[in-house]
Each structure stands twice: as structure tokens, then as C-alpha cells.
């Protein structure tokens, strides 16, 4: 998949595959709440203050349910990359 607007390197993975590195932040794309943190709190504008990348090379992981549309995933990746400042966003599609 091409990079999202040139802001992030995308690396696709799936459960059972080896990940390239340990992500600094884990997020869920919930069909009702939208982006949530690992503890199922909705990510608000203020919430990004605590979720932002600690370095320009940091990676985040985005977990999405199988029924999620490509467009929704693309938008979420873009948000994580831009608002969170993550250089890499690993996407896992599977049981959430």
C-alpha cells in the first residue's frame, strides 16, 4: 500500500506474523467510538498530548476489526501519523 500522503511508512502485518518492532503506542479503531487507546478510552484532541510519539522514529500499532472499510483505515492511519507524530503505523486486522 502506498504511503499516506507521504507522512508515514506503512507496514502491514497480521496475527501470527513477526512484527518489525515493538510499537510504542497501541490504538483501536472501534466502529462506534472511532479511535480509542489501548484501554478503550476515546482519543480526544487533548488525549493526543499523552499518546504522541516520543521520537521521530516511533511506531504505533492500529488494531482494526475485519469489517472496517479501507477508507476508514486510511483515515485512521493518517490521524495517527499526523496527530501522534508516528513515523510508522503497523495495522493489525483481526479479533479485537
Amino acid at each position: 500500500m502506498p504511503e499516506a500522503a507521504g507522512v508515514a511508512e506503512l507496514a502491514w502485518t497480521a496475527q501470527g506474523e513477526t512484527r518489525v518492532e515493538t510499537p510504542e503506542c497501541v490504538l483501536l479503531l472501534d466502529p462506534v467510538l472511532g479511535l480509542t487507546d489501548i484501554d478503550f478510552h476515546q482519543v480526544t484532541d487533548e488525549g493526543w498530548d499523552n499518546l504522541s510519539a516520543s521520537s521521530p522514529a516511533s511506531a504505533a500499532r492500529l488494531v482494526v476489526p475485519p469489517s472496517t472499510s479501507v477508507n476508514s483505515i486510511r483515515q485512521a492511519i493518517d490521524t495517527v501519523a499526523k496527530r501522534g507524530g508516528y513515523a510508522k503505523v503497523f495495522v493489525t486486522i483481526g479479533d479485537v
Binding site: 512484527r19 472501534d30 487507546d37 489501548i38 488525549g47 479485537v96
Partner: protein
């Protein structure tokens, strides 16, 4: 359970990441409310207040919930995403407050081992107060008292 005054949930979380060799891994968990470390000694869990509405300690203050005629329903689905060979556990203690009193303790875990589906384990017991560690944790983490 019907409550005459607003019901609340005060919830605490600790997380375990068990590596392929069975060791507990140390990781930083980032949330909208701040960050906390995973538990690396099972006998000494690293609890964190599970509220995104600091200094309000109640889960439902910012968590998904529904209120209707004296009842409160909360929704929670913590992400567990193990890497190869790992098991992730999100462990919770939830205290149900009804009519300004603690009435139940809910102990629950959502866990997942790589290659398997996530699982829930839940037990509910009677309780009439928050344990001392919970009150101390709320204070230490800058939350208002639960009661």
C-alpha cells in the same frame, strides 16, 4: 440493581505481557490519561486508575456507558494484541458504587495468546468498601476520592 442516586464504576487496570519464554515483560502503556508500566512481578501488580476524566475517578465519566432509570451500563474492550509467542492480559478490579456505597467488586481479565482469540474471565463478589490500596492509589494519581 436499582440505585436511587447516580451509580458509578471505579476501575483499576494492570497489564501483563508474557513473553515466549514465560517471563513478564516491562513495557510502557500509553493512554489518553497518561502512561503506566506493565506488571513484572505477578505478586505485586502495577495498578492504574482506569479513568480518562482526571480528577474524576469514575470510569463512566469518559468511558462508553449508558444511563437509564437508576441503572448504569458501562462498555469496555481493552485491546490485547500479543506478538508471536506472547500472551497479553489486561486485569481489572471494578468497584460498583450504588447510593454512595460500594456494593460489588468485579474482577475480570481480558487475555489473548498469539494465534488465539481474546478471552474474558469475570467474577463478581460482594464488597462494602474500596480496599486501602485503591484509595491510596486514587490519591497518589491525583484523583478525587471515590466516595
Amino acid at each position: 440493581m436499582h440505585c436511587s442516586t447516580a451509580a458509578h464504576i471505579v476501575q483499576f487496570v494492570n497489564r501483563e505481557i508474557i513473553g515466549a519464554a514465560g517471563q513478564l515483560a516491562r513495557r510502557i502503556i500509553k493512554t489518553v490519561a497518561g502512561q503506566y508500566e506493565t506488571t513484572t512481578d505477578a505478586s505485586n501488580p502495577v495498578w492504574n486508575t482506569d479513568s480518562a476524566a482526571k480528577p474524576t475517578p469514575y470510569y463512566e465519566a469518559a468511558g462508553a456507558h449508558h444511563v437509564e432509570a437508576g441503572s448504569l451500563t458501562v462498555y469496555d474492550q481493552p485491546t490485547v494484541g500479543p506478538g508471536v509467542g506472547e500472551t497479553w492480559r489486561a486485569n481489572f478490579r471494578s468497584y460498583v458504587i450504588c447510593d454512595k456505597k460500594v456494593v460489588r467488586e468485579v474482577t475480570w481479565t481480558r487475555s489473548q495468546t498469539s494465534g488465539e482469540s481474546p478471552k474474558y474471565q469475570v467474577s463478581v463478589t460482594y464488597a462494602d468498601r474500596l480496599p486501602a490500596w485503591a484509595n491510596e492509589l486514587l490519591k497518589a494519581q491525583g484523583y478525587h476520592p471515590a466516595l
